[in-house]
Symmetry: D3
Subunit: 137 residues, 6 copies
């Protein structure tokens, strides 16, 4: 049977700054460069599910996938990721850590075993993509 | 030897509506939502071939891939997918079923074993991708 | 005082076909080419208001403009423009006629004298823009 | 003589929140909606100069226009517009107020009478454009 | 009567380099920077016609405008603008000079008085636009 | 442990023409079509690294990846790929050969074993991607 992937893309606008509480301001600046300052992005969030195409012609109802992704969007849109999102407290909000956290949140909101990939796009120059959420950062 | 993938992207504009003849209007509405009504898209069709790079510096002449894809575009561009395309009659024209049907059509128009992936992009929010055509829907 | 323009862009997916009831199929084909067949687009709708910037830092609350544009979007999204939209019945749904009709609908939903421009984008190749709605087509 | 316009587009990423110090939190929320919360954007800044085309085939050296725009970009990129940019202190950082402020800053950095338009694009849905800077907000 | 503008956008890929035969290599480098070296772009060409909307719902048949623009595209696509295009010989192929030359070529291919604007987009950062062709450069 | 991919995208503008010195002009024309003539593109270069996310929340410092990619960009931006880039002399500058050459150059500039994919995008219609550089062309 042919397998199929459905990818849905949603957008949100959020602020963040990159700094580890374990480091001095100087070390943070060396590590994260201009991203230590408060700034923000129009992010895109991509989530991909895989499976076989059913009799209804769908691998998964796109509305189901969208609903699962909205559990993320509702928490992060028009927010400061560094301070306003409980699920992200304690994590440096790099694109990598966002992708891992969003993967886990979307996975929990979907039927088991269907999510295969999550990507976070920060700007037209940077894309972060993970195929498995692993442990919490 | 390094393998290479060439992906070509072409665009077409078509109408469609999602409804299964096996279901009542009410069931179709519950299943397909607003897509049960006639509407349309500027679709993008992506096809990917893979291989090694030849002495001519190409994995496949892009004009050959384009010609194969045009066998699809010529059938669907400026058409109603639900009623005007013989190859799609009987299928619910979800992005998934389009991707499967287009995969088979492009595969037949190319040298055997070269096509590896076909994607159908409905809008900037939805992408459907398959790596193998499987049986007819 | 400096004047300012706010342009909001919303998207919708719709089907249409171009054919005048006053013409024969042959004449319609000569006039509208492949657009005489049922097809569709991911349209973008742009509306622009102009004015001076108030003490709140806004030329108009963007939510007010969005609400006015939604009166259009709600009528046309996931519809067949040729047959399903009462406000368009009798008009050939060219980009020009859509822009004129949408201008009038948005104008009625806004405070008088604020709307200055409406554009309809059919594809990445075609843009239709009007600065005043004039009489009904 | 034909007149020509050169438009240059540069991008920056910044945080902001919309709230007037003169208003209560409740009033700010009613006026600015979710934008009262800290969030951010990948902004685009467009500046347009007009004139006749010289013997060098240019209306203005694009490097001169870019340099003038960089006086803005250097102040706002990877910053929080609400708190970190002296030139914006006291202004609610709506797209409109940003466009007015950036107009004045670019105008000062260019030969007199050349700048004709500045636009700030917040997201793919919102564009703010001014043709004359007027007085300070 | 409402006026309407139709803008059509076509794309072409071409090489060019900026250097005036009247200048020394050093002067050309100072004036044109890295553009003195051979390089190229995926250009976009935009042409706008204006008028009233006719009984056919069109301000101008889009196929007529496209045909006029193809007289340019056919000359410049997959060419070196500096050496291969007779109509451009002797001109420094800045975006400005291209816009002026293309305006004249498209104007000649259209019914008189209909063309109102031509834009040449070199990259996502640079746009050149003219509203009247004026004399030859 | 979850693996992560970081993809960085940079752009450059370059000229090229496709022709093999081993072939006659007629054979080159038959093989490469209009690409035998000098032309050019706004290219995008994508490079992807893979790994586990470290304590700093990053799979690799994006500035390190950007620096490695700049070793390519500095050689090819605003250049004629056919004649001006020593590393490409003797290769037909197809998208495939560019992707292979750029893969090797970026790989040499990065810590071993981190680069997993390089893509060259010539236009919105053509993408060339390789996962391993293989031998020199």
């Amino acid at each position: 049977m042919a397998t199929m992937e459905l990818t849905k893309i949603l957008r949100f606008s959020a602020a963040h700054r990159l700094a580890s509480p374990a480091l001095s301001p100087k070390e943070n600046l060396r590590l994260y460069g201009p991203c230590v300052r408060g700034h923000g992005h129009n992010y895109a969030l991509e989530a991909t599910v895989r499976g076989v195409v059913g009799a209804d012609g769908m691998v998964m109802d796109a509305a189901v996938l969208e609903r699962a992704m909205r559990t993320v969007i509702d928490l992060v849109d028009h927010r400061d990721l560094t301070s306003d999102v409980p699920a992200l407290i304690g994590a440096v909000t790099t694109g990598e850590n966002l992708a891992l956290a969003f993967y886990r949140m979307i996975e929990r909101a979907l039927p088991p075993g269907r999510l295969v990939r999550v990507a976070v796009i920060e700007t037209e120059n940077n894309r972060f993509e993970t195929e498995a959420a692993g442990e919490a950062p």
